[in-house]
Each structure stands twice: as structure tokens, then as C-alpha cells.
């Protein structure tokens, strides 16, 4: 069984919610990637989503765009990131996922890329510009490597499509909380709660909410509708500021509330 499936089984058994932080590989240098991973595991992250920097990230807002630019300026390449993950994997127990746009994978070679990330110990892959219509480019290799493809559903996806997307995976469904790109939001649409509950109903696997979640009270609210949250832009901002306490507070928000649910 894939590490992601195992972790979620345990969470469910213990009636706990997931917290998945997103960090940009190479932002602050490749060595800081390992430091951030160990810190986040210790702080109680369920899994970690590692962003691969790309020159043209159309699904991302200014914070992640800037983090990507910083990482590229550091000379970060996909090969470096794969190597760094391989190095740290033996001492990290939680699932590690890559979030990458299609093009860096394609330039690497889809088959070789998936072989190499399997060897490095990556458990899941998120590709924000690859809808289910194009995923056969990588799915056969992923299946062979037992790496989970984490698919996105959005406020725009019709119910039939949400059902189709959810039934394809074994890891979790990434429910996008906004019409838009990544980045902090002060509020969400009123119908979001109902939408997330609907996705939960339709999905045979856990549902995590992501995009724009930035504050502990938002974390607490989101986990009443689904199985956990993904926090990206805010995480990058907090690491950039060196505000580690706020990161701990965000993660704790998912624990406190879950125990009361």
C-alpha cells in the first residue's frame, strides 16, 4: 500500500484531520528544503507537497510565482530536487508529494522522471495543468511505480465530473476552494461549505481543501467540511519571514478542532 493511503487510513481510524503544507523546492537554496521538511514533520504535518519551480506557473498567484523565481535564480533544477528528496527520505516518515507543471516533467522525460522519483521515495504527484483528459501521458508509469496521482476538482467541475475524477484515485482528492489561482484569501464563497460536503459525498477517497487557506480559523472551518487542508502561499510567506511559530499554529489548528469534531 502506498504511504499516502496508509497515513489517511490511520487518520480516519483516529478521527483526525490532515494538514498538508506546500513548500517551494530551492527557495532559500536546496539545503533549506531538507530543513523545512524535517521541521514540518516534527510540527505535525500529515504529508508535504514539494513545489517544483517553473518559469510560467499559470495556476499560481504572486507569492508562489516569486518563490519559483527565487528558486530558479538559485539554479534549482528538477534533478537537484529529486536528489535532495532521495537524501532525506530515509529519515522522513510522512508522505512526500511533488507538485509540478507538465513541462519540466516532459523535458526530463515522463518515464524517466517517474522512475527517478520512485527511486527517491516520492509518494504522490500533483500536476495543476494536466486535467484527466491528458493524464494518460503519465498514469501508466505512475501505476507501475505505485505513485498516487492527486487530481483536482474545482467549484467549476460539474458533479458528474467530480465523481469521475474522484473514483480514479487512491490517495486523496484536492478540492480547490476558489475560482482562481493560489494565494491568500480573506474570505471564501458562501457556497464553499456545501460544495466541499458534496465532493465528500461523491468521493470514495479523502478530500483535502486547498487554495487561499491562510489562517488558523480558516483551517478550523475547512476541516468541518472535509478531511483536511493544504496550505501553500501562506506557508511560503511564513518561512520567508522566519515566522515558524505561526506555521506551528496553523498545523495545530487542524489538530485542535479535529479532536472536538
Amino acid at each position: 500500500m502506498n504511504r499516502i493511503e496508509k497515513v489517511f487510513q490511520n487518520l480516519q481510524k483516529n478521527n483526525q484531520k490532515a494538514f498538508v503544507p506546500y513548500i517551494m523546492a530551492g527557495d532559500g537554496g536546496i539545503d533549506s528544503l531538507k530543513e523545512k521538511i524535517t521541521f514540518l514533520e516534527k510540527a505535525g504535518a500529515t504529508a508535504i507537497e514539494i513545489g517544483i519551480p517553473f518559469s510560467d506557473p499559470v495556476a499560481d498567484g504572486p507569492v508562489i510565482q516569486q518563490a519559483g523565481i527565487r528558486a530558479l535564480k538559485e539554479g534549482t533544477t528538477l534533478k537537484d530536487v529529486v536528489a535532495a528528496v532521495a537524501e532525506i527520505r530515509p529519515i522522513v516518515h510522512i508522505p512526500l508529494l511533488f507538485m509540478t507543471y507538465t513541462n519540466p516533467m516532459m523535458a526530463y522525460g515522463f518515464e524517466q522522471f517517474i522512475k527517478d522519483i520512485e527511486a527517491s521515495g516520492i509518494d504522490g504527484l500533483i500536476v495543476p495543468d494536466m486535467p484527466i483528459e491528458q493524464e494518460e501521458l503519465i498514469v501508466p508509469y505512475l501505476e507501475e511505480a505505485h505513485i498516487e496521482l492527486i487530481r483536482l476538482v474545482t467549484l467549476q467541475s460539474p458533479l458528474s465530473r467530480i465523481e469521475e475524477i474522484a473514483k480514479r484515485g487512491k490517495g486523496f482528492v484536492y478540492a480547490v476552494t476558489v475560482n482562481g489561482i493560489t494565494g491568500a484569501r480573506s474570505s471564501f464563497k458562501e457556497e464553499l461549505g456545501a460544495h466541499l460536503k458534496k465532493v465528500k459525498e461523491l468521493s470514495p477517497i479523502p478530500v483535502l481543501a486547498g487554495f487561499g487557506i491562510s489562517f488558523p480559523d480558516q483551517v478550523e472551518e475547512m476541516i468541518t467540511y472535509c478531511d483536511g487542508v493544504i496550505v501553500g502561499s501562506k506557508m511560503i510567506e511564513l518561512f520567508d519571514k522566519g515566522d515558524l511559530q505561526s506555521i506551528v499554529d496553523l498545523i495545530d489548528a487542524s489538530k485542535i478542532r479535529a479532536s472536538q469534531l
Partner: protein, 400 residues
């Protein structure tokens, strides 16, 4: 191997190229767009409305002009110019903008977003939106805003809001990124009028179809004037919309040699060019698999051309396919060659071409002497050069 007109396939692919590589939030919008477009194609009322506008508002059909002086200068094949520069707003872009603006209304959307490089597509879209009472927001790279001040003012006069983009190279590629991000955020009430034959399916097909009026008219006009098909057809390529619109009706006429001309900038041996097909490799950007200027790690590189409209590191997927099957010959022209051709056309024919179109002229000037006098070629003169006067003056140091 012969191309057929059945492309793209039902996945929106031309061979392996094209497809729909977009965030999930946009999937519903592009599937809806495809469905609505198919309905519009089959709806005589839509076709009549579009054709009436093209005739009475745009001024179609545009002339097919025998450029006798240019022919004599080049010394070879007879050269005809398809005068897309004489369209309302000064370029071929309006053919597509009007078609998509009508579709926007059909879909019940009230707002439009678009990107622009040289500003021609922005002006055309702002124009169509003014006519059809749609709100219009245009993203344009800061670098292009500097190069094309006049077009920025034109768009604003037409009621559009122009938003400067200063990410990446601050040119067309980055304007497309921002327009896509805006669309993802405002997809419920906004349509994205993409300006070239690129992006996710159905855009490359739809833009091609709206631009095919160029090739269809050319074919009929040429038949009328010469009683045959032309031997060669030449068009410039940035994203590839005027060229695919010109080529498409000739694809199955195997005797017609088709030439697509990319921007070689400072030269193909430098890293300052926009020759994606000649020097690029396949990759995914802006929703489609296509040839891209990119480094070995898949990071997109900046394109360069003296012409803001060709300054794009990718190329429409159908062109990638046409290159692969060898139906179209793709070559390139440098900044300097384009600039000389622009000046030459001014002096020989009294026509100021856009810097984009000057690339096609420059290539035709090389091609014509290799052909005999009984042969003929058509150059797509995709736009007029008024917008480039400042840039050309700066480049020529105020001389001339």
C-alpha cells in the same frame, strides 16, 4: 503524407500537438466553449451575423493586390499581396476578435479578457467589445506597452482597460499567463478571446476557422485573376494565426507550396530570436503541447524579435503538426532583414507594412528570384505598419 482537414482529433490534438493542458477550473469553460462553437458553426443566423459584420464593418473582402513594382524588383515570380492591413483596425486580428465576441454573447457572458503583444489583437478585441457592448480588459507586457504606446491609447479610447504585466520578460508570453490567471479567477462571467491559433483546444481550431476567411478569399480572388492556384503562399508566424488562416484552405492543394516565416531576431546563432519551430523543442505552455523555446530543464526562455507580435516562445499546435508532416516549409528572417523589407515595400509600393508582415515580405524577396516569371506567389500582408513607425524611427536613428 498529406494533411487532412479532419484535424484536430476529438482530444483537440493535431498529431501529438495541442490538447487541453489547463487548470481544472478552466475545463468546464473550454468544454462549454467547444460545444457552443460547434452550435454556432451549424447556426446560419450566427454565420450571417458574422459575415455581415465582416463585410459592412471590417470592410471585407480585402483586396488581392498585384505588386508589380515589388515583382520587378525581386525579378522572378509574380508577387501578390493579400491586403489584411486594409481591414478595420489595421490587421487580420479583427476576423477572430469579432467571431469570438459574438460567441461570448451567445454564451451569455458579458466580459472579455485578452492578451496582446503588438497591441493589434488588443485593439481588435477592444473594438469588437465596443461594438457588441462587452466589458474588456487587456493584459499587455510592460515592455510591449513601451514599444506600442499608440496602441495602448487606442485600446483605452475604445473603452478597454489595459493592464501592464511586469512578470517574466514583460512581453506576450507573460501577458498570456496573466490573462489565463484572470480567466481562471473570473471564469463565470468572462470569456477569454485568445488572439492566436494557440492555447488549449478549441482555441487553435476556432481561431484558425475565423482566420480562414483570408485563405478562402485569396483562393477565389487568385482564381479570378490568374485562372489557377498560386504556386507559393508566404506568411509570417508568431503564434501563427494569420498564417494558418491563409494556409488552411490550401492544405489539400498539394501544388501550392506553403512558407511560414518565423522571427530570427538577431540571428538563429544567438539566443535573441523567436524561432520556436526552427530552434525549439516540444513542450507544454499556455494550455497546449507545441514547439517551445526552452532550456534543458523545461524552463521557458525569452523570445526576441523587433516585432512585438512575433515575440513569443511557442507556436500554434497545427503548425507543429504541419511541420512534422512536411506540408509547410518553415524558415526565418532576422530583425535587420525585416526592417529592410519594410522600407523597401514603403518605397516600391507605397505600403507601410507591420514589422510582423515585413518578415513575410523579406522571405518572399528571397524566394521570388528562385521562381520563374510564369509562377506566382501570394504574401499575406497581415497588418499595417502605422503602429511601428516610432519603433522603426528609433531603430533607424531618426534618419531616412
Amino acid at each position: 503524407m498529406t494533411a487532412t482537414t479532419i484535424y484536430p482529433d476529438d482530444k483537440g490534438q493535431f498529431g501529438i500537438y495541442g490538447g487541453r493542458y489547463v487548470p481544472e477550473t478552466l475545463m468546464q469553460a473550454i468544454l462549454q466553449l467547444e460545444a457552443e462553437y460547434k452550435k454556432a458553426l451549424a447556426d446560419p443566423a450566427f454565420q450571417t451575423e458574422l459575415n455581415t459584420l465582416l463585410t459592412d464593418y471590417v470592410g471585407r473582402e480585402t483586396p488581392l493586390y498585384f505588386a508589380e513594382n515589388l515583382t520587378n524588383y525581386a525579378g522572378g515570380a509574380k508577387i501578390y499581396l493579400k491586403r489584411e492591413d486594409l481591414n478595420h483596425t489595421g490587421a487580420h486580428k479583427i476576423n477572430n476578435s469579432l467571431g469570438q465576441a459574438l460567441l461570448t454573447k451567445r454564451m451569455g457572458k458579458k466580459k472579455v479578457v485578452a492578451e496582446t503583444g503588438a497591441g493589434q489583437h488588443g485593439v481588435a478585441t477592444a473594438t469588437a467589445c465596443a461594438l457588441l457592448n462587452l466589458d474588456c480588459i487587456i493584459f499587455m507586457g510592460e515592455e510591449d506597452i513601451k514599444r506600442q504606446q499608440l496602441n495602448v491609447f487606442r485600446m483605452e479610447m475604445l473603452g478597454a482597460k489595459v493592464v501592464g504585466v511586469n512578470s517574466g520578460s514583460s512581453t506576450l508570453k507573460d501577458a498570456v499567463n496573466e490573462a489565463l490567471r484572470y480567466w481562471v479567477t473570473n471564469v463565470e462571467d468572462t470569456h477569454y478571446i485568445l488572439g492566436s491559433a494557440m492555447g488549449p483546444h478549441p482555441f487553435p481550431m476556432m481561431v484558425r476557422d475565423f482566420q480562414s476567411v483570408i485563405g478562402k478569399e485569396t483562393k477565389e480572388q487568385f482564381q479570378h485573376k490568374e485562372g489557377k492556384l498560386p504556386d507559393a503562399v508566404v506568411a509570417c508566424i508568431g503564434g501563427g494565426s494569420n498564417s494558418i488562416g491563409m494556409f488552411y484552405p490550401f492544405i489539400n492543394d498539394e501544388s501550392v507550396r506553403l512558407y511560414g516565416v518565423e522571427a530570427a531576431g538577431l540571428g538563429l546563432d544567438t539566443d535573441k530570436h523567436a524561432a520556436s519551430l526552427t530552434k525549439g523543442t516540444p513542450g507544454v505552455l499556455h494550455g497546449a503541447l507545441m514547439y517551445l523555446l526552452q532550456d534543458e530543464h523545461g524552463q521557458i526562455q525569452e523570445a526576441h524579435s523587433i516585432s512585438a507580435g512575433l515575440d513569443y516562445p511557442g507556436i500554434g499546435p497545427e503548425h507543429c503538426y504541419l511541420k512534422e508532416i512536411g506540408r509547410v516549409n518553415y524558415d526565418s528572417i532576422t530583425d535587420d532583414e525585416a526592417l529592410s523589407a519594410l522600407q523597401l515595400l514603403c518605397k516600391t509600393e507605397g505600403i507601410i507594412p507591420a514589422l510582423e508582415s515585413a518578415h513575410a515580405i523579406a522571405y518572399a524577396l528571397k524566394l521570388a528570384p528562385t521562381m520563374n516569371k510564369q509562377e506566382s506567389m501570394v504574401i499575406c500582408l497581415s497588418g499595417r505598419g502605422d503602429k511601428d513607425v516610432d519603433a522603426v524611427r528609433a531603430r533607424l536613428g531618426g534618419a531616412n
